[in-house]
Amino acid sequence: MSGSESGARDVMQAAMAWHAATQRGDCDWDAFTAWLEEDAAHQQAYAYVAGVEADIERNRPALREQLREESPVRSGRRRWPLAIAAALVLGVAIALGWNQWPFHATAAQEYTALAGTLQIPLDQGVQVTLASGSHIRVSGRHHERVELTGTAYFDVRHDPDRTLLVMAGGRVVRDIGTRFEVFGDDNMLMVAVTEGIVSVDLPGEAQGARVAAGQRLMVSGTPLRAEYASIAVDDVAAWRSGRLIIRDEPLSLVAAQIGVHSGMKVTVDTAIAGRRFSGVLVTGDGSQLAARLAEIMGLDLQPRGNSVHLAAKAAVQ
């Protein structure tokens, strides 16, 4: 290593300052070019900083959680109300027969897709593709219970002896053997099926609502409303190849999904929560999704600490 330590640190400080300027969007690019041209060490330091900062940004929530000093406890937002869980345990127990109930269930496993899609092969021919920013907790002797926060695509090999239960958005999706996408967060749920049939527990429907290939069920709004639609199978879970294809979905649901991909809560003004959106958004690293949505829909994007809020623009003209 040539150069004194303090000299190297000055270069590093300058590289970090340039990086911050490029991120803010007020960078003097010609001055930046001149600085890069000045010395190969400048260029190398900048390349390093930009690379590490991008890595940190992609992994920020996980790193933050693991490096936070005061609270080693998980930021356990309990999204799964106990009552539903209890009802579910009962339901599953009955479905399996008491003697089959996995009292010796293996420890639950948790997975979070932090930067990009994550493939998780579970027992018994179940393949889960987890969208960036999403989380699952898998439990049960045969990995038959999946609690989902965010978006995932399930590929389930047909096996009449086992029912996969996906718990998302406060409901239960049951499946025997199909391919389908689920998004669930808070009280919202979206299920889109590309193959086979799944059943979703809805209040007031004893049988469970059936969603078949080429169909989509959305549960959202206040009061909660279930809504069916036909969909193009090819559009389902397009985030696996880097885009979000949205067809006629309420803004509240779109924002919640974007929030998962961007790792940042995206809220919507209640006045426009029901507005419909159709479009294709490139997911990228997720950070630009909310801004793109706001741009396309002509909405006002308001940063609020660790979240962003979408609202109607004040009327012009």
Binding site: M16, W29, A50, D55, S241, V282, T283, I296, N306
Partner: protein
Amino acid sequence: MLPGVMEAPPAQRCEPQGLAAVYDVHRAAILRFLRARTRDAAEAEDVLQELWIRLREVGGGPIGNPRGYLFQMANHLVLDRERERRRRRMREQHWSAQAHAAVDTADGIDAVDPARTPEQILSDAQERDLLLRAIQKLPEAARRAFCLHKLEELSHAEVAARLGISRSGVEKHIALAMKHLRQALPDCGADAPAPSSLAHGQEPS
């Protein structure tokens, strides 16, 4: 942060379709930037070519600062390429059978962020672990300043207040942390790792 939503005088705004004209005007400056940024004339030309192609994919509303937007796009393209190369190296160093996990990437959609390959998915986890371990090993004061600023996203002033040191002290700590990371993770960011750093201290997990 996002040029697309940045406020600018109306005269400087342009529709996405107008970017090509802005590109024509500033092509030489962008190329010069790319040469300085990559220190590789051929690579700079490649990126410029890619930028030209990507311009057509830009959609949405008016762009506030089209010139800055183009530079930023160009810079991101370089960053993506650097990252891709780094991942390739990582893959070669930490090859694992898991990388063969079948992933459907045959969509052929060439979006700004194309389908992730199994290798990318694998190295996401590795990248995170390496980063985590390197941050944990930072000197105490540097680590605290670094975590508050980069992870908790406090401003320099807020970190200074929290730690009871000056703002310039915060900047120095964070730069020092970055320097340590560079020694611990020579593969990150920088394009070519020094051969000496590969020879030792790389324990595959």
